[in-house]
Amino acid sequence: MVSAQSAEVGGPTRRRPPLPVKLVIAGGFGVGKTTTVGSISEISPLTTEADMTAASAGIDDVSKVPGKRTTTVAMDFGCITIDESLKLYLFGTPGQDRFGFMWDDLAIGAIGALVIVDSRRLDDCYPAVDYFERLGLPFVVAVNRFDGAVAHDLPSIRWALAIDEGIPLITFDARDKLSVRDALLVVLDQALAKARAAQSRA
């Protein structure tokens, strides 16, 4: 039995599940996505394997590619219980570009995204920035301060990434819980501003 979150259908259940909301943690390979999730998640980051033949059914037809073997991709995630009826999930995107097919699964219905950047390898985050811009999902670019250092100043990074002035660019420390919390709050502020703008138009 499948029921909408708002309506209870289909007999007694043990406990009413919380409303799940999700936030995407994106960025290139090795920028600190798993560290970020682990710093704030109340469970240690879990890894889910998604199988390409299943996840991309209808998009990539593996059967037509001779010798093509199934690709397996790992995705890290964690969660934060906001209150007993609301739970925030943090999903880290698989690092490599070639797993982009998974992103719709993660991003559609998400509150927003935190795009993590290593200031020494700025171009790694281009695919994520492009993707969220096109999807119209609220996002924030966050430079991970590895060892307290950022290789370039923020205006240079903004220029190099060609991101709009309206998109917040911040620095944070992926290992620090409060720093991660504050970065997520910036994403929430973006999402809230967008939701309020939509509400006033309606």
């Binding site: 289909g10 043990r14 909301v21 889910t48 209150d83 939701a195």
Partner: protein, 148 residues
């Protein structure tokens, strides 16, 4: 009328014994290493009877809870289905089920869809508007600020 009789392929000199019969595979230059199966003894499609699509509408954060019928039926269910039913006494997301049972996300989607169709699981599809709802966002903000 000329008949085109198929000609037998020319036999390469010296290759009278096929490589795989010779038993001396070390001598064969283009010896192919078969891929070593990586971990899983069962292929995902065996668990899902060949289906790969699943219910696309079952988002990864979808909450799943076992029903009374699920508990009653648990002993009669196949391994993976029973594992899912046993795990979801308290609500769990599809992503957590996949992670805790080390199953592929796509497989979990298919099996959760089946179990829900049979009445063994309650599936609470996430409210699509929650992520753009001002009140919900304010609650998330309050919850995050409370983290100290």
């Amino acid at each position: 009328m000329t008949t085109h009789k198929p000609q037998p392929p020319e036999r390469p000199a010296g290759a009278l014994v096929r490589p795989f019969l010779s038993g001396a595979s070390d001598d064969v230059e283009d010896h192919v290493d078969l891929p070593v199966p990586d971990g899983a003894a069962l292929r995902p499609f065996l668990l899902t009877a060949g289906r790969v699509a699943g219910r696309r509408s079952i988002a990864i954060e979808t909450q799943v809870v076992t029903t009374e019928s699920g508990w009653t039926a648990a002993d009669r269910l196949g391994f993976e289905r029973r594992d899912i039913v046993s795990l979801c006494g308290n609500p769990l997301s599809v992503a957590e089920i996949a992670a805790q049972l080390s199953m592929h996300l796509g497989v979990v989607r298919v099996l959760v869809g089946d179990l829900s169709a049979d009445g063994h699981l309650s599936v609470y599809l996430p409210n699509a508007d929650a992520s753009t709802d001002v009140d919900t966002l304010l609650r998330v903000i309050r919850g995050l600020r409370a983290i100290g």
